[in-house]
């Protein structure tokens, strides 16, 4: 455990220090985005025929594939991220305060990537605004896709507000040390700020967090996103009330995986071992284990329900799922991760940050594969399976794969840029460390390595003294 004291200059370091690696990473993301742009250009010119998609039914293909799978994946990361950050504020999980803003930023970035996927998925992106908006009042009653667009927009606005509110506090206090070239941004962020608002803002943030905590699991990733699939009469592989909880656990595992990677990157790049401590990694890894367990448990429920005396179409769907290698790759990654996390709780010496990050990467891969596979398998096993071209086949084309590389590039670039403009760790997070026990919450730490991060284990021992 570090004995360094976290200071303002620590959290400001990314804004001033720019290493060669930084530029290299920017270059890599730009190449990735360039690749994506070229691929999309091709698709705009020739149509969606450049993808590996085709019609289901007599044609022998699937009509939704990687684009929709990756869309849900990014939305999941985004929703999980905001749930994480809201829990930190709401439940006073101060230990994770240093990564709360990273999680919020991940939400904005994830939603951006998801939005991009909606645009590249459709055949006539030029009509999205006119066709959807002009008919909104009519379609919002019945179309789950419209519900999705509505709720995602709502979430983007909520998260951005939430972020902007907490930023006002930080930016005002750190104003002198922030780079002058972004002056207009800071001016805008702090417009009309007065210290008297702090208390009000804190309350507003609390209520926003409450709104998010209630809405996100119930309505969003446990609601409208799975409803996109589970409400349809046509595809037994998608149906069932279990999709809500299933999607939610996938969102939470993915988001924790994402936050682990970000934490690792920022800690390594800016020597933040006293800010994003090992305990943060340990704790996140344990949460990852918990949600992975839930994820696997719900998978088991689905499979058992599908294979034991289920109606014919459901049985076929379940059998097709179990017979597909993609499913087992995904499950294998999740099971291995879970096994590692279990082993680590029993034997704390197994913990290392690198391993935690690897667990995060493994889970993100597992959920990405699962999401794409989920979309495809549904369309491969429809209720009406008389067609000899059913089940069809699908291999994502290079154009689709480029979109994946491209959106990861976009999200990475987002963090590279944002970290140059605003502090990605809240002032509150280090204030809590500085003056232990103030109104912003105590710097909790749990005693002993490798134990669960439950409340009753917490002691309020001095951390950084």
């Amino acid at each position: 455990m570090s004995t360094k004291r976290a200071t303002e200059s620590d959290i400001l370091r990314p804004l001033s220090a720019t290493s060669k690696k930084y530029y290299a990473l920017v270059a890599v993301t730009l190449v990735a985005i360039g690749l994506f742009a070229v691929a999309w250009g091709l698709q705009l010119r020739d149509g969606l025929i450049v993808t590996g998609l085709a019609d289901w039914g007599s044609s022998g293909g699937v009509t939704w594939g990687l684009y929709i799978g990756a869309f849900i994946w990014w939305v999941g990361i985004a929703h999980g991220g905001i749930i994480l950050s809201a829990s930190v504020r709401l439940l006073g999980m101060d230990r994770y305060q240093p990564v709360a803003r990273l999680a919020e930023l991940l939400t904005l970035a994830g939603l951006t990537a998801a939005g991009l996927y909606i645009i590249i998925h459709v055949g006539r992106p030029d009509r999205i605004v006119t066709s959807i908006l002009l008919n909104y009042t009519e379609t919002v009653h019945t179309s789950p896709l419209v519900w999705d667009v509505t709720v995602i927009t709502l979430y983007f606005v909520m998260t951005a507000t939430y972020l902007a509110l907490t930023l006002r506090y930080d930016v005002t206090r750190l104003r002198d040390q922030l780079p002058d070239r972004f002056e207009p941004v800071y001016k805008l962020l702090t417009v009309g700020y007065s210290e008297a608002e702090d208390e009000v803002v804190e309350r507003m943030v609390w209520w926003l967090a409450l709104g998010i905590i209630i809405l996100a699991p119930l309505l969003l990733h446990g609601g409208v996103i799975p409803w996109l699939f589970s409400l349809l009469p046509s595809m037994p592989g998608w149906s069932g009330a279990i999709q809500g909880p299933q999607f939610l656990t996938i969102a939470l595992t993915s988001a924790i995986g994402g936050v682990l990677i970000l934490s690792y990157a920022f800690r390594t790049a800016y020597d933040w071992d006293h800010i994003i401590t090992d305990d943060v990694f340990r704790g996140l890894t344990l949460w990852l284990g918990l949600f992975t367990l839930l994820f696997l448990w719900l998978q088991l429920q689905q499979v058992i329900n599908g294979v034991f005396a289920a109606p014919i179409d459901q049985t076929h769907a379940a059998e097709a799922k179990l017979g597909h290698p993609a499913y087992w790759i995904s499950m294998g990654l999740a099971i291995t991760t879970l096994a590692f996390i279990f082993a680590q709780t029993i034997r704390p010496s197994l913990f290392s940050r690198t391993r935690s990050v690897l667990a995060g990467v493994a889970i993100l891969s597992a959920t990405l594969i699962e999401k794409i596979f989920f979309v495809v398998e549904g369309l491969l096993s429809p209720t009406f399976e008389l067609y000899h071209a059913v089940p069809g086949s699908y291999v994502p084309s290079p154009v689709e794969i480029a979109s994946l590389i491209g959106t990861i590039g976009v999200v990475t670039l987002f963090f590279l840029v944002v970290s140059k403009v605003i502090p990605v760790v809240e002032l509150h997070a280090i204030e809590a460390h500085e003056d232990d026990g103030d109104e912003h919450g105590e710097a909790y730490e749990y005693d002993g390595d490798g134990e669960e991060p439950t409340a009753d284990r917490r002691t309020s021992t001095e951390v950084n003294a």
């Binding site: 969606l48 025929i49 293909g61």
Partner: protein, 417 residues
């Protein structure tokens, strides 16, 4: 339908058995409402059904008593009364609304005691039968919305010989791209059936179309004038949600440039009577499917083509019958009636037999889409398998598996696909 010939009197007599009365009495006594009132009302409800009593009288006779007995409470019956209060005409509809619900009749009566009888739920269904809804003539299992025109088809699978003439005619008429088989004919084998059988699959122009529900843009819509389910090519964004939601797999997206350029399309065959672009093959990036030829129905292609479709015209076996499913006199319903008459059962000697030996079905009706294509013949069972037909798609210059064509356009498709 077997009961449509029965007169109201017969129905009444059928119902008015001692057994019935005893059962009702028992049911009523389980509830704690005035049994006598209920029974009296139930009898009058039957008179109402038989046309001996008009609705207004019936209503007047019992309104006060019911309010006395039950008060104005939150039971569904209260709503029925309220509705009737406002507008007598809607009384029937209120009853229907109740009847439409999933309430098991007996359960409902038990729950509502006399109120259940007041509503005459049991007799209500008999009224429908006695009058013989317009649907009664068409098929036993059918929709219950009978208003306005609803285009659809009766397709006689026993006549189909799998020649694919309809498939060719449709693709030529609409200039669809290779493999976009708006009309598709299955040849299949089934353990429960002998030999090879056919299933002729168009869009079912569902009355409760999931494709329309999920569409985020209203591009997929049901024409109010005739119930055709169409796609507005100028509004569709190509999200393909309709294709995902349709249980029948009838949608074909325009993945790349259409095989036939716009300039070669007949403008009279692109816009329908409302001037919406819903007919012929879709342009790149939007969804297409069987339209049942709206520009024909709207008279844009000549008087003589109204009420016909390209596939129907092409079928030399007379298997396809297009028309208004809500009209007893329409071609499909007349055809069905004829087939039924030709296959009548000997009910004089065997009164328990069904009226005829004709088997009809609607595809995947259990999914609640309320499809408007009625098939004569056997329904493919759960283990039916599609097999090579007597004439292959290639034989007639069509493509069966469209993906094979689409793969040529897939970027890098040859490398990894």
């Amino acid at each position: 339908m077997s009961t449509d010939e029965a007169t109201a009197d017969e129905v009444l007599a059928d119902l008015h058995t001692d057994e019935w009365e005893a059962e009702m009495q028992a049911l009523l006594e389980e509830g704690d409402y005035d049994a006598e009132l209920g029974l009296e009302m139930a009898k009058d409800a039957q008179r109402l059904v038989a046309g001996e009593l008009d609705e207004a009288d019936f209503y007047e006779r019992y309104h006060d008593a019911v309010i006395d007995e039950f008060g104005v409470d939150d039971r569904p019956v209260a709503e029925a009364i309220e509705a009737a209060d406002g507008d007598r005409e809607t009384f029937v509809e209120s009853l229907e609304a109740l009847e439409d619900g999933d309430l098991d009749r007996r359960e409902a009566m038990k729950k509502m005691g006399a109120a259940g009888l007041f509503l005459g739920l049991g007799t209500w269904a008999s009224k429908e039968n006695a009058e013989g809804g317009p649907d009664a003539a068409s098929v036993a299992a059918g929709s219950d919305e009978e208003e306005g025109t609803q285009y659809g088809m009766v397709i006689d699978l026993q006549k189909c010989d799998g020649c694919l003439a309809c498939v060719v005619a449709c693709s030529q008429e609409n200039n669809t791209s290779a493999g976009a088989n708006w009309m598709y004919v299955f040849t299949y084998e089934d353990d429960q059936q002998q030999g090879e059988n056919y299933l002729v699959r168009t869009c079912q122009h569902c009355s409760d179309a999931p494709c329309e529900k999920v569409c985020p843009t209203t591009a997929r819509h049901k024409r109010t004038e005739d119930g055709l389910v169409l796609t507005d090519y100028d509004v569709c964004i190509g999200c393909r949600y309709c294709q995902v939601a349709c249980p029948y797999g009838v949608n074909y997206f325009q993945w790349g440039e259409p095989d036939t350029p716009r300039s070669e399309l007949d403008p009279e065959h692109v816009y329908d009577g409302r001037d919406r672009r819903v007919d012929s093959r879709p342009p790149k990036g939007v969804m297409g499917k069987c339209t049942m030829c709206p520009s024909r129905q709207d008279g844009k292609r000549g008087e003589e083509k109204i009420g016909t479709t390209a596939c129907e015209d092409a079928c030399s076996m007379d298997a396809i019958h297009f028309g208004d499913m809500n009209d007893d006199e329409s071609d499909p319903n007349q055809y069905l009636e004829r087939v039924r008459a030709e296959n009548a059962n000997d009910r004089e000697d065997y009164p328990n037999r069904t009226e005829d030996t004709v088997s009809t079905f609607r595809l995947l009706e259990e999914l609640g889409t309320d499809p408007n294509v009625v098939f004569v013949g056997n329904e493919p069972g759960p283990n039916a398998r599609q097999v090579e037909g007597p004439v292959s798609y290639e034989d007639v210059g069509e493509v069966d598996r469209r993906k094979e064509v689409l793969d040529d356009g897939t970027f890098g498709g040859g490398v990894i696909g």
